[in-house]
Amino acid sequence: MTKLTHLTIAKALKGLKNKDFTAKELTEAHISAIETSRSLNAFITETPDIALKQAEESDKRRASGTTGLLDGIPIAVKDLFCTKGVQTTAGSHILEGFIPTYESTVTANLFDNGAVMLGKTNLDEFAMGSSNTTSYFGNVINPWKNQNKPEADLVPGGSSGGSSSAVAARLALGATGTDTGGSIRQPAAFTGTVGIKPTYGRCSRWGTVAFSSSLDQAGAFARTVEDTALMLQAMAGHDPKDSTSAQKDVPDWSAALNDDIKGLKIGIPKEYRLDGMPEDIEKLWQQGMEWLKESGAEIVDVSLPHTKYALPAYYIIAPAEASSNLARYDGVRYGLRVEGEDLQGMYENTRAEGFGDEVKRRIMIGTYALSAGYYDAYYIKAQKVRRLIAEDFTKAYEQCDALLTPTAPSAAFAIGEKEDDPIKMYLNDVFTVPASLAGLPGMSVPAGLDHDGLPLGLQIIGKAWDEQTVLNIGKTIEKSAQFAAMPQMVVQKAA
């Protein structure tokens, strides 16, 4: 029998239903996998006691015949979602020891559907980063190794690096993430996992530590497209506590999932062809087009002319919103307090000690961009460019139903690389940020390995509220790619 930790969510649900194993056994298998994989630093807080209690309750529910969509499925939760009674840090010293007295809507929905929480996963501080190297709680390590340089530890992508690493290393069947500019899709690509960010407004932001409110959106990691559909279905839904959450019913994405994409028009944006992009990625993209063509889709060349300006616009809008959102960390109501000469001194000392370098940089960029005399030149300008970027997509969708692009411009890189220049790190998100600015659903599906034996992902970007088409195209790529490679450490452990 397949190891319990290697199951997909769909197969685990079947096994639970058939009484092949209990939720408790499934959970215990994952708890012990986590215990023997602590070197990855994927979790900030492990919650085995909660997990076992939830699993036992799930087994009781199953015995009485009242189960939820994810009943008994052990998952990991990004430490950006507030969890009642369980430390929630956002990867920051300033929130170390913060124990929420309430539950985020996303985790509440997951628990209502029977999910079991194994722990809270590591992330870039306040979700600001693309390598999971800015967490106060240390770097997360990617379970994959470059076969030509096996000694180097690689980044798992970011900001949801703990979630991507945990799912890739078979420490959880699925995980929550959040995506502001690529924080689900890029780490999914770096770890050979599937990651989906739904349309802005699908998931409630209530109880999720805020970074950039006009961009932040929760989503899911898993090892198959179907599993991410199940996860997302259990997380999404209207919430009166978040006025930006959409009053729309959550479709039964997993039931409607199919790989019949005959007649769909898939747009290939020419601006995503970058100079100096690794040949492996270019080839894989081409291969992806071939797969979709063979499945009956039509490939259409499209143009998104303002693509080049997406990153600079993002690096005004996101820091500006962050500087406002993070003003709440003042040493008064929760989190760290460092005394000072007076109230102002207390604020300044608390924030100096509580925030890391990247967070400080972004708060200062944002504060500068919003300060008197610069507001129009930077913030308003960036919002105007944001409209042009969103309109690019609207126009492209007159010619096609969805877009296919690479997820990231490189495979996973070594920890410590790209640290000398913040802009080099920002460029990781060059293919993911435009869809974020336009609020569109996007998904990364593992589609192949590069010459170093590292996974590469293809990104599907859909129309607003059309996650189903994104998932169906993802399913088609998954079926064609037959991606079965596993990180070396997983193979060794299974042996």
């Binding site: 802005y200 040493g331 760290l336 925030f355 400080k360 200062m364």
Partner: protein
């Protein structure tokens, strides 16, 4: 028109010096040491300089986009629907006293 745009670019094309770093850090309520100011000034200038490529984009007659999806924020009745648990609100306070947050003295 072109002249105005060139002028616009000139005013934007500025470096962030140590003094500006100090001023912005003050606004952001983050204590920044002299050595950190030295380090941050060129870093922030570099980032802002890169962002300034936005000035190449013609945004005449473009409305700023604040709301990305087509959702009209719903209205509800103005009534109290939640609250009444001061212990929960104060549970994570670094310092509290008799149901209040405690801050350093602000009035001499």
């Amino acid at each position: 028109m072109l002249e105005i745009q060139a002028e616009h670019r000139k005013t934007l094309n500025m470096t962030i010096d140590k003094e500006t770093v100090q001023k912005v850090a003050g606004l952001a309520r983050i204590k920044v040491t002299d050595a950190e100011q030295e380090k941050l000034a060129p870093q922030l200038s570099h980032i802002i300089g890169w962002i300034e490529q936005l000035s190449e984009v013609n945004t005449d007659n473009v409305e700023p986009l604040a709301n990305v999806v087509d959702i009209t924020p719903p209205l509800r009745k103005d009534e109290v629907t939640d609250g009444g648990y001061p212990a929960d609100v104060l549970a994570n306070a670094p310092e509290e006293l008799e149901g209040f947050f405690v801050v350093p003295k602000v009035i001499e």
